[in-house]
Amino acid sequence: MTIAAARQPGPRFVPPALVGMATLLVVLLIMELLIQLNFISRFIVPPPSEIVGSFGRVIVEEHVFTRFLLTLGECLTAGVMLTVFGIAGGVLMHRIKLLQQACETWVAAMAAAPLVLAYPLFMVIFGRNAWTIIMMGFFAALPPVILKTIEGMASTRKVLVNVGRSFNLTPTQQFWKIMFPAALPTIFVGVRLGLIFALINIVGVEFLINYGGLGQLINDLAERYDLAGTYAAICFVILVSVLFFMTLEKAERWLRPID
């Protein structure tokens, strides 16, 4: 699709964000109706109105902002680490063909492995602290970043590399001025996937090892059978995810204003 086509606005005076919000509201209203009419048991899914009503209680009584900041901080640390090490690993594997041939399958296999089950091992290595959670998020999220970096580097159009060669670029210039910016859109796909994996694992391990954060809060509330509170806490996890994706989108637009 061309940029001109991509920038075509939808129907006049209806911004996409408004359509998104309206869709969400309609889904919530349908859920509310189905639960109120007993098509869905309220003991499995509480009505959205009850979840919204529990926000104040969860925020005040459960110190949700402290937990929110802890989960956000863990995600941020894991995100920075996986961006730095994932991209570096991908570049290294693309540069050293033997390394790529030897390890790419293993990295891909690691992406499919349920690493969260290895949490006791991570607790033995890092102790019962935030680093266990961060490292689990980091390792689980590393493969997509590495694989997408390799893919992005390999799919750089040959003519762009030849333009660099025709201008006598050094290998370092060739990398920073051509290969890396050309691969950025694909690398960002990897980082996005990585952040999803990281967030899932971080919240999952918080849930499992009962060490603070939103994951522990979800566990606590679920054990108390506070369903509305549990779903409210899940909304805060979604908020972390939304914040990350908005920041990432801004970063991508800054680095690659247009494709």
Partner: protein, 279 residues
């Protein structure tokens, strides 16, 4: 009869270039003993049917293909790789999509460490030259194919090469845009007295722009003939309607026809022998 410049007159000399490729079906000689000389300020086109080794020759002269026999010299200096005196414009779209038009054109100036303000001013000079004023802050994704090729041309010109080497730069464009861009290239070439070597398979384009045309044979690519184009300068695309232009086109086509037929027969034979690889 073509006037061949002496080695001393020439700024670019390719001498006895031979390129062989190993393929699953055996060794192929893509370019066979091709020699050419280009005078300063001259516009020379290399024309031949598809598969005659034109782009291979482009890569050899541009220093992108090291595995060849023969020597390429620029102003007497033998070159063994990409050379700052040769600016290349490629057949495929080659602008950097993450840079604006100004940043694309300023790319070679950035490499030599020119201060930003001076770089922008210089880039704008070349943007104006290719007729893209007003598009300085646009990205390539917002431009048409012809405009992007003009950005590539401006970027190459910004490096102020002694020799402009172009490989079918308008091949992907429609005929009308091609003729108009031909005008633009001619105008720039005459303004800068730019030595230019154009690789093309388009006879009209070659006759419209060139001082001389080197006709190549189909595989292996050899020099079949060099034709002097004695059409008046300055030229524009209006010249394509003249009688003299038509005579040159007919003359070149009579040379090319046999080669193009051989190429077509070879492709058909290959398709019959290797049905899975035929497109």
């Amino acid at each position: 009869m073509a006037s061949v410049p002496s080695v001393n007159d020439a700024i670019l000399v390719a001498d006895d270039i031979v390129v062989r490729f190993e393929t699953p079906e055996g060794a192929i000689t893509a370019v066979d003993n091709v020699s050419l000389k280009v005078r300063p300020g001259e516009f020379l086109s290399v024309i031949g049917p598809s598969g005659c080794g034109k782009s291979t020759l482009f890569n050899v002269i541009g220093g992108l293909l090291a595995e060849h026999q023969g020597v390429v010299t620029v102003a007497g200096e033998t070159i063994s790789g990409p050379h700052k005196s040769i600016g290349m414009v490629f057949q495929e779209e080659s602008t950097f999509p993450w840079r604006t038009v100004t940043d694309n054109v300023g790319f070679p100036l950035e490499l030599v460490g020119m201060p930003k303000a001076q770089r922008i001013e210089r880039a704008r000079h070349f943007i104006r030259m290719v007729g893209l004023d007003g598009f300085e802050n646009r990205y390539p994704g917002e431009l048409s194919g012809g405009m992007r090729q003009r950005v590539s041309l401006a970027r190459t010109l910004a490096s102020e090469p002694k020799i402009l080497l172009m490989d079918e730069p308008f091949a992907a464009l429609d005929e009308q845009t091609r003729l108009l861009l031909g005008d633009k290239v001619l105008q720039i070439q005459q303004q800068l007295k730019q030595t230019t070597l154009l690789i093309t398979h388009n006879i009209t384009e070659a006759v419209q722009m060139s001082d001389r045309i080197l006709v190549m044979t189909y595989r292996p690519g050899k020099v079949k003939r060099i034709v002097d184009i004695n059409l008046p300068r300055p030229r524009t695309s209006e010249i394509v309607g003249s009688e003299a232009f038509g005579r040159y086109v007919a003359q070149i086509w009579s040379d090319l026809r046999e080669e193009a037929s051989r190429g077509m027969q070879d492709e058909e034979k290959h398709a019959l022998e290797h049905p899975s690889t035929a497109s």
